[in-house]
């Protein structure tokens, strides 16, 4: 039964939809880590992005075209993610606080902040559907059997996610900005002696990472469910960290890892419905277990940016 075309179309379509937030956040994370800043706060930034997107869409209500509303919501989410990322950048780059501790604090902050604001807006139980990203169907291509509906009949944000990793790879490997970012995480002293500012490079990369995490949150909340629930990112920000490692800090390979995790997530949702007599919690675990296994397999073979996680300080003595 599971191998009939309808199932595959349904599964593949859901897999890509679930992978979309992961891809967006992963690309941002790759930039931040390439510049030398570890960001475990991606989870929190996604959560804040999701909340901001839903709240923006909610307040704009039916006042405009859903496409316009979702666009404004996405921009608001990116600004919110970038704002949280600014805290991370200030603490880790300027104040040289431990990056893990700062990231963890940001996750806690984001969870508390969104929970509180959620109750303030929607009360104890309320959750309201809002306008989300419009569905796009590419003519002709969407008519291809099986593959067509999977790839070409999706929410608008999914199509954005198709292009982001390609653009990101181009920027990273074919522009001077990318060169500076790559050098910043590997050997910041060389960046400094070349007359470039390590601080500026790292701020830019972290802010971009935050904006992408915010957009990922918007994709999560407005892509399918179209409402916000507290803690709705459910650890996806950490799966993203795994995807970065598995993807060896390359935007396109990392996006591939995200597709894998998205497919696993889509599969577990369907497996739960099959009534196989296995407690559903085991299925929920599946994408996370896969992420852990993939990271464990990747570690040792991939070499991270050599100064990842270390604050830069020009030699004093």
């Amino acid at each position: 039964m599971p191998l009939d075309p309808a199932f595959i179309t349904d599964w593949g379509s859901a897999g890509i939809r679930l992978a979309t937030p992961l891809i967006l956040a992963t690309v941002g994370g790759v930039f931040a880590e390439r510049s030398g800043v570890f960001n475990i706060g991606i989870e929190g930034m996604m959560l804040v992005g999701a909340f901001t997107a839903v709240a923006t869409s909610y307040y704009l209500g039916a006042s405009a075209d859903p496409a316009v509303i979702s666009l404004l919501a996405a921009i608001a989410a990116m600004l919110a993610g970038g704002g949280i990322a600014f805290i991370h950048a200030f603490l880790t780059v300027t104040r040289r606080v431990d990056q893990i501790i700062t990231g963890a604090a940001i996750n806690i902050l984001a969870l508390g902040l969104t929970n509180t604001l959620f109750r303030a807006i929607w009360g104890e139980t309320g959750r309201e559907r809002v306008a989300g990203f419009p569905e796009v169907r590419v003519p002709v291509l969407a008519d291809i059997p099986v593959v067509g509906p999977i790839l070409f009949q999706q929410s608008l944000i999914v199509f954005v996610a198709y292009f982001i990793p390609i653009i990101a790879a181009f920027v990273l490997f074919r522009t001077t900005w990318g060169l500076t970012i790559r050098a910043g995480g590997d050997f910041p002293l060389a960046v400094d002696t070349a007359g470039l500012s390590v601080t500026r490079v790292r701020y830019a990369a972290v802010l971009f990472g935050g904006a992408m995490a915010g957009l990922a949150g918007a994709a999560l909340a407005l892509g399918a469910v179209r409402y916000f629930t507290p803690g709705m990112t459910a650890g996806r920000g950490f799966i993203v960290l795994g995807a970065i490692v598995v993807g060896r800090w390359h935007p396109m390979i990392a996006a591939g890892a995200c597709l894998l995790f998205g497919a696993a997530d889509a599969f577990q949702l369907r497996a739960q419905a099959l009534n196989l007599g296995i407690p559903y919690q085991f299925f929920i675990m599946l994408p996370y277990v896969l992420a852990v296994a993939a990271v464990a397999g990747a570690i040792g073979r991939a070499s991270p940016p050599q100064q990842l996680g270390r604050p830069y300080r020009r030699e004093a003595g």
């Binding site: 490997f173 074919r174 522009t175 001077t176 900005w177 990318g178 060169l179 500076t180 790559r182 050098a183 590997d186 050997f187 002293l189 060389a190 960046v191 400094d192 002696t193 070349a194 007359g195 470039l196 070499s303 940016p305 050599q306 020009r314 030699e315 003595g317």
Partner: protein
């Protein structure tokens, strides 16, 4: 021969300029530079000048203030007082970037290269692109290859830097400076990482650059090299200039007394001891490097009781892997290692078997924030008398430290001094004291004199000799051939993870060692022998 070439350079430079010979157009003049770090005066009214087309050697021991002076010139540090003039105009250099834009290039001892970028990417990093923000590499590649060809600096532009040999990385650093238009090139101890043949190549390049009218600052503490390549020598000691003279007028004895304030010699003091029982035996040992490339390739070696076997070779040819395999810190992929018949795994935990002086004393040898007493018992703290029933016995640890400080002449205010406050030489003595405390059968010393000044080199080598005389087998890894020849009973040479051969420590055999360091196989007649 070198000097003839250099004189030619100066003439050429003179022709190129409008000034007369008498008031030579200085390229650089650093005047009365003073720099203090707390109580330490690193530079005390130092005046230093470089002419165009001149190779000016800056000579001095470690800690004499050479590096500080050059860091000031390169904008990494600011002087407390004094003036820098370039082309007779006063300049302030606040950052390396400003130094570069003024035409100053520096090749640091530790290269400023990004390991995961290619050679070409490293060269264009921070240089504005022809079509920003696109990373346009076609023109830069052409310019780089042209510079490389003109200056005999062969380089593969598309290989990631971590795959380049140390010599190639140095060439890349020089090219990087030239690409940015350096008229004044500072080379900080450039020969420390090179094999003798490569040193010769570097000197040729330096003369070529000087002939173009560039000024070269050559930092070194090796008299022979300074004599071979420079036009003028300025000697620093304890932050002060003790003299500045044309190379032609400088004799080694004058220079060394200007450097150290006394004569120092590294002559052999004891005749070779005839070894007997084998303590360390390696048979066809192979292993991998951290990057999973071949590290050691079928190395066989025997070190006997009462003998020092020196391991020569250019850095990065398997010496580190050899030491780590012997110490049981790196898995071997083939062959057999035995220390007194036991496998190396756990050898460091066996009392009186293996002493290890690691290559990086800060990372591996000491805990910088621990005091001298604590560092001295890092190996033995779990045993009596230093602890009992899981509790440390501080009175024993302290009194032990007082004894060792006295016995090893560790210069420090007391056992409670944190080791990172000690000088390099005294730090090394702490390690030697700890590692030889239980009279190990085998002592492995990796680059034990690296970064030490001449006086400290002498005392550390004497401590190592003392271990040999006590009957220990000693494996001494060093890149400094004179030291190896002064203390070893036998010198083996490593190249690309292999042992190329062995020679007795006879100064007439230095040439063979140099050849073998470059990977050339030499038929060794008879002696040398036990490295089968």
């Amino acid at each position: 021969m070198g000097r003839i070439g250099c004189r030619g350079n100066q003439e050429k430079a003179g022709v190129g300029s409008t000034d007369q010979q008498s008031s030579a157009p200085e390229l650089l003049r650093m005047e009365r530079i003073t720099k203090r770090f707390g109580d330490l005066v690193a530079n005390d009214e130092v005046t230093f000048e470089v002419l165009p087309g001149e190779i000016h050697a800056l000579l001095g021991e470690n800690g004499a203030g050479k590096s500080t002076l050059m860091k000031i010139l390169y904008g990494l540090q600011q002087p407390d007082s004094g003036q820098i003039n370039l082309d007779r105009r006063p300049v302030t250099i606040r950052s390396p970037h400003e130094a570069v834009s003024l035409g100053i290039g520096m090749v640091h001892q530790k290269f400023m290269l990004v390991p995961n970028l290619t050679a070409l990417e490293n060269v264009v990093l921070g240089v504005s692109s022809p079509r920003p923000p696109l990373l346009e590499l076609r023109d830069p590649r052409r310019r780089l290859m042209k510079l490389a060809e003109e200056h005999e600096l062969a380089i593969d532009p598309d290989v990631p830097v971590w795959q380049l040999s140390v010599g190639a990385q140095q060439r890349l650093e020089i090219l990087k400076a030239l690409y940015r238009g350096a008229r004044l090139l500072i080379l900080d101890e450039p020969t420390a990482v090179l094999a003798p043949v490569e040193v010769g190549q570097l000197f040729r390049v330096m003369r070529l650059l000087a002939a173009e009218g560039r000024g070269i600052v050559f930092i070194s503490h090796k008299l022979s090299e300074v004599k071979a390549v420079s036009d003028r020598i300025t000697v620093l000691r304890l932050g002060r200039v003790t003299g500045s003279l044309p190379t032609a007028a400088a004799s080694p004895s004058i220079l060394s007394s200007m450097m150290v304030g006394r004569d120092v010699s590294l002559e052999r003091v004891s005749p070779p001891v005839q070894g007997d029982a084998p303590i360390l035996e390696l048979q066809d040992v192979s292993c991998l490097t951290d990057r999973r490339t071949p590290g050691l390739d079928s190395v066989s070696l025997t070190v006997r009781r009462g003998e020092i076997v020196g391991v020569a070779g250019v850095d990065g040819n398997g010496q580190r892997e050899l030491v780590e395999c012997i110490a049981g810190l790196r898995p071997i992929t083939g062959g057999r290692i035995a220390i007194q018949g036991r496998p190396p795994k756990g050898a460091l935990r066996t009392i009186g078997l293996l002493g290890l002086i690691p290559e990086d004393r800060h990372e591996q040898g000491l805990v910088g924030d621990f005091d001298v007493a604590e560092n001295l018992v890092l190996r033995a703290y779990g045993r009596r008398p230093f602890s009992a029933f899981g509790f440390l016995r501080w009175n024993h640890i302290r009194s032990h430290a007082v004894e060792q400080i006295d016995a090893y002449d560790i210069r420090c205010p007391g056992p409670e001094t944190k080791v990172h406050h000690l000088s390099g030489g005294n730090q090394q003595k702490v390690i030697v004291a700890r590692e030889t405390q239980e009279d190990p059968a085998l002592l492995v010393a990796a680059q034990p004199t690296r970064g030490l000044d001449v006086g400290a080199v002498e005392s550390v080598l004497n401590l190592i000799r003392g271990q040999r005389d006590r009957g220990a087998a000693v494996l001494l890894v060093s890149t400094e051939l004179p030291e190896l020849f002064a203390v070893s009973d036998r010198v083996v040479v490593m190249h690309a993870g292999q042992i190329m051969g062995a020679v007795p420590p006879d100064p007439t055999r230095l040439g063979e060692v140099g050849e073998m360091m470059m990977g050339h196989t030499i038929q060794v007649a008879g002696d040398g022998g036990t490295a089968a």
